[in-house]
């Protein structure tokens, strides 16, 4: 269970989120641009600090403003895949993949991830020589190899063309199942939600508008204008 109860003042609005999210399967965070989706992601992974409140994952505190606890991003064991792959340009693909592995890599896991994402033939290339879809797959693999307890994805497909989107969506659906890693998937695209999400949270102007199972939320009248 990911328990979030935080506030953060942003330049254009006040971000306020209070909801427990089940740590299982894929939870989609849906919202228009500027609704605070990326803010939520960066509050969970620790890249920004809230003004007040707390975040707990499976009972472990990540941040608690009252008790003055702040676990830095590198100690949270939460993987993040951003809109751009953000591969390290001076590392080959294989070294990008291994960047977050500390010493003990399980050989099986490495080959499993490489097979699942179909990136075995790219290992010795530099990121500049990859296509957009390949780059994003490597970024996903890199995040998975840190062995995260939660994987955050911030519009991972929005920089890709349609065929790549479809292809990558299938990979994402697979990995949540195969590695049983809970995924929080941020998007503004309702079709992606339909295809992969188990649960949906709708963000509107920095506030949680609705949260629940996919089919239930998709009935919501708010979404009619999205369809």
């Amino acid at each position: 269970m990911l328990t979030i109860d935080i506030t953060k003042k942003l330049s254009s609005f006040y971000f306020k989120f209070n909801q427990s999210i089940e740590c299982q399967g894929i939870t989609a965070i849906l919202g228009v641009s500027g609704s605070g989706k990326s803010t939520l992601i960066n509050l969970i992974n620790g890249l920004i600090r809230p003004d007040s409140g707390k975040i707990l994952i499976n009972g472990t505190t990540l941040i608690d403003c009252e008790k003055n606890i702040f676990i830095p991003p590198e100690q949270r064991h939460i993987g993040t895949v951003f809109q751009d792959a953000l591969l390290f340009p001076h590392y080959k693909v294989v070294n990008n993949l291994l960047y977050g592995c500390h010493g003990s890599i399980q050989r099986n896991r490495l080959t499993d991830i490489i097979d699942l994402l179909n990136i075995g033939h790219l290992l010795n290339r530099y990121p500049t020589k990859l296509s957009g879809g390949e780059r994003q797959r490597v970024a996903i693999g890199r995040a998975l190899l840190t062995n995260p307890r939660l994987l955050l994805m911030d519009e991972p497909l929005s920089a890709l063309d349609m065929p790549r989107k479809k292809e990558l969506l299938a990979y994402i659906k697979n990995l949540a199942k195969e590695f049983s890693i809970p995924v929080i998937y941020v998007t503004h695209n309702i079709n992606e939600v339909k295809q992969i999400a188990d649960r949906v949270a709708i963000l509107e102007q920095g506030q949680l508008y609705a949260y629940g199972d996919r089919d239930e939320i998709l009935q919501n009248s708010y979404l009619q204008e999205w369809l």
């Binding site: 992974n45 620790g46 890249l47 830095p72 991003p73 590198e74 100690q75 949270r76 064991h77 939460i78 993987g79 993040t80 951003f82 751009d84 953000l86 390290f88 340009p89 001076h90 960047y99 977050g100 500390h102 530099y126 500049t128 020589k129 890199r142 995040a143 840190t146």
Partner: protein
């Protein structure tokens, strides 16, 4: 060879002083550049001004300030001499210190620009992958600002080789100890029939600068090629 024994000695001394100045100030310079590029704290503008001060102060003023603080009777200099056993007065170490101070802002500016041009999101993603701030600095920030660091080193080295005012004020003009190329040229021009020697030293200085630029250009290309592979 074309150079006299004395001129060879001067050349080697100049290289030694500039090399030591850069070697010891580079780590501090990278750290200062990183702080200026990435940190936000109260009093940062004051820190910025202090780092850039040697760029705008007359070198003679710097030399005088060094003499009064780092000389054997200076506040810091006396302490260093009595308790650590290091002295900067009228020796080549003092010349290196003067050069380092004068070259410092040039070096920091170039490195700072390089660090500022790195996509901060790369550093952020590295942290979400479990890297501490220090590891991010070593594995992401430093390699990606390599070109700027190189430029800083070359600019700083060239500035050190050309240092005159602060050096002659702080550690005087002692043959074999603090008489670098510019000081030797100046000395040659002060004595009758010294013009030929001054001309040779002048050509030598130009050659050194060209070689430094050439080496940096080579390293830069090598680095770019490695990135583009």
């Amino acid at each position: 060879m074309l150079l006299t024994e004395l001129e060879w000695q001067t050349l080697l001394l100049s290289l030694k002083i500039a090399g030591a100045a850069i070697l010891f100030s580079l780590p501090i310079g990278i750290l200062a550049a990183w702080v200026l590029a990435r940190c936000h704290f109260w009093g940062k503008s004051i820190f910025d001004v202090i780092v850039h001060l040697p760029l705008v102060l007359p070198p003679v003023v710097l030399g005088y300030l060094l003499l009064s603080t780092m000389g054997k009777r200076g506040i810091l200099g006396a302490w260093l001499y009595n308790y650590v056993g290091i002295s900067f007065s009228f020796n080549w170490q003092g010349a290196a210190l003067a050069s380092a101070v004068v070259a410092f802002p040039l070096m920091v500016r170039s490195i700072r620009l390089a660090i500022e041009s790195i996509d901060t999101r790369l550093e952020h993603v590295a942290r979400t992958l479990g890297a501490s701030r220090w590891r991010v600095f070593i594995t992401i920030t430093i390699p990606l600002s390599f070109t700027g660091i190189l430029m800083g080193v070359v600019l700083g080295f060239a500035r050190c080789l050309g240092e005159f005012g602060a050096t002659i004020t702080f550690v005087s003009n002692i043959q074999g100890e603090t008489r670098t190329l510019p000081l030797a040229m100046y000395t040659s021009l002060q004595i009758p029939d010294g013009e030929a020697s001054a001309m040779r030293l002048c050509i030598l200085s130009i050659l050194l600068s060209l070689i430094a630029l050439f080496i940096s250009e080579m390293l830069n290309r090598l680095h770019k090629k490695r990135l583009a592979e």
